[in-house]
């Protein structure tokens, strides 16, 4: 489903060169849930953003469903329709109601008519447990509610893959659970997911595989059991000893 080969992303700015992602290779199968962990600044977000072309990488290949993002002829907008993304800061459209947030891209990108888009949106809002707020503007919702709307918005495009970049990091603790529950349900339904998170409980429970990144490099990968109970690399050990 996703095949990353030697992906490298270099930021240059203010005389500094940062190898944010440094030769990462990974494969993610259809229906697999992969959790990416690692210290802050280790390149997790940048790697995730490369996967849907929000960041252009400098070297390597990312092949999604047989399409190479490094190929200049690839229409990145077409790929992005198939790859949903949920951000740490939700990034809901503040000038649109909850319902419109979920219908807009369906109409603009998928060219669905208003009725179909609304039907789909209501169905998804019900699924994330927030159907009664469809007429509200995002600023009137709590963080947890906003993030669930953001998930519904991404799902409305019928993506084949969902990317989550620390979806619960900006939330008050009591709202983390409601968002994780939605994600767990998605995982059970067989969605292919790549999740950057610091929620180790979620990783243990839901992940098929865990990737550990440090300084832009993929340091270690394995099943949650292998990574959490028996980490091989000392940097993984150090990181886990700090967060667990």
């Amino acid at each position: 489903m996703i095949k990353a080969q030697n992906v490298t992303k270099i930021f240059t700015g203010r005389g500094q060169v940062v190898r944010a992602v440094d030769g990462v290779s990974a494969e993610i199968a259809r229906g697999e849930v992969v959790v990416v962990i690692g210290p802050s600044g280790s390149g997790k977000s940048t790697f995730l953003r490369c996967l849907n072309g929000l960041e252009q990488f400098d070297d390597g290949h990312i092949i999604i469903d047989g399409i190479d993002l490094a190929d200049r002829k690839t229409d990145i907008n077409k790929v992005r329709r198939e790859v949903g993304m949920v951000f740490q800061q939700f990034n809901l459209f503040p000038h649109k109601t909850v319902l419109d947030n979920v219908t807009l891209a369906q109409q603009v990108v998928r060219k669905r008519n208003r009725n179909d888009a609304e039907q789909k949106a209501r169905q998804l809002l019900t699924k994330v447990g927030i159907a009664e707020k469809e007429k509200e503007y995002p600023s009137r919702l709590s963080g947890g509610q906003q993030q669930r709307v953001a998930i519904a918005r991404a799902l409305a495009m019928d993506p084949k893959i969902m990317l989550f970049d620390e979806p619960t990091s900006a939330l008050d603790p009591e709202m983390v659970g409601e968002v994780l529950d939605v994600m767990k349900q998605l995982a059970r339904e067989g969605m292919t997911m790549v999740v950057v998170t610091h929620e180790m409980g979620f990783a243990r429970e839901v992940a098929d595989r865990v990737l550990f990144m440090d300084s832009g490099k993929l340091v270690e990968e394995g099943t949650p059991d292998q990574i959490f109970s028996n980490p091989q690399n000392e940097r993984t050990q150090l990181f886990l000893s700090q967060v667990l």
Partner: protein
């Protein structure tokens, strides 16, 4: 600081200062022996004129039939054609049976006419409206070009903005009329509107650029991650949000434009300012006319401010 502090002493002070200033001006004007003639001003807004009604052929007055303060006059031409006209009773110049030549006056009609101040205001308003619309289009395009990833577009827009903001509007108007206008054979109105639009457009471009850049980067990323292309993201996500933010500075710019439009009077466009100058050459009510002209600009700009204030509140529903 307590919030319950009384404001009335300050209001009183404000009133005293204003009255003091007015008294000072009054005293100064009295010393130079100026005769105020405010009663001359209203006629420049609206006046009653006499329009002569003339006979369109050589002929005779067949019949004069009064109806209240109006009179119906039947005319008959030498060829036998007949016609009927109406004039004011007190303005009637002819009697039944009179022989007239083509162009002779039958009588007068009194009618209200718009005075030069009203006409000038009208010119100022439509000139500013046309220039504003054009400036909005130019500014939007130039503003988008300023943040474009294309070096050439960005360069062009930057040169445009820098050139316009670095030269005086008066000089730009002269260039537009005497240079560009002569080369391309433009009328003074086109040159005037064009100069104003290009001038305001540069400022609008900066407002648009700042407005778009003030929208969080995550908005564009969220839109793009849903598969929207750049254009779709701009139209549906970025511009509507930016518009709300740029409305106040944009309105300020258009209010400035109305005031700046007074400079087109130098290329002999009869706007409000030029009308004022023309009136002063025929009356000598210099003080009254300039104060009136200033008040008229003030009324227009305040009304516009109020309108924008109202729109801002309407747009604030999603905040």
């Amino acid at each position: 600081m307590t919030t319950g502090k009384a404001v009335w002493p300050w209001k009183l002070l404000l009133a005293v200062i204003l009255i003091g200033m007015a008294a000072g001006v009054w005293g100064a004007v009295n010393r130079i022996d100026y005769t105020w003639r405010w009663n001359r001003v209203p006629q420049y807004f609206l006046y009653q004129g006499e329009d002569a009604v003339k006979i369109p052929f050589d002929g005779q007055i067949e019949k004069v039939s009064p109806m209240g303060d109006r009179v119906t006059v039947d005319l008959v031409a030498e060829s036998g054609d007949k016609q009927q006209v109406e004039v004011d009773a007190e303005g009637l110049q002819v009697a039944e049976g009179d022989e007239l030549f083509e162009g002779d006056t039958i009588g007068f009609n009194h009618a209200w006419h718009l005075g030069p101040l009203t006409m000038g205001l009208w010119t100022t308003l439509w000139l500013s409206a046309c220039a504003s619309i054009l400036a909005l289009v130019i500014g939007l395009l130039a503003g988008l070009a300023r943040i474009s990833q294309n070096y050439t577009l960005r360069g062009l827009a930057t040169i445009y903005v820098e050139f316009i903001r670095g030269t005086p509007l008066l000089v730009q108007i002269f260039i537009a009329y005497f240079f560009v206008g002569t080369v391309f054979n433009l009328s003074r109105n086109v040159a005037g509107i064009g100069a104003l639009a290009i001038f305001a457009g540069a400022y609008v471009a900066e407002i648009v650029r700042a407005g778009i850049q003030s929208i969080a980067r995550g908005q564009m990323e969220a839109a793009r991650s849903l598969g929207m292309n750049k254009f779709q993201a701009m139209v549906h996500i970025i511009l509507p949000q930016a518009f709300k933010r740029i409305l106040p500075p944009l309105a300020g710019q258009f209010i400035s434009l109305i005031k700046d439009s007074s400079l087109v009077s130098v290329i002999a466009i009869t706007d409000l300012t030029k009308s004022g100058r023309e009136i002063i050459t025929s009356t000598f009510a210099t003080f009254e006319i300039w104060l009136t002209v200033a008040a008229m600009y003030l009324v227009v700009t305040s009304l516009l401010s109020q309108l924008v204030f109202y729109m801002e509140r309407r747009l604030a529903v999603s905040d």
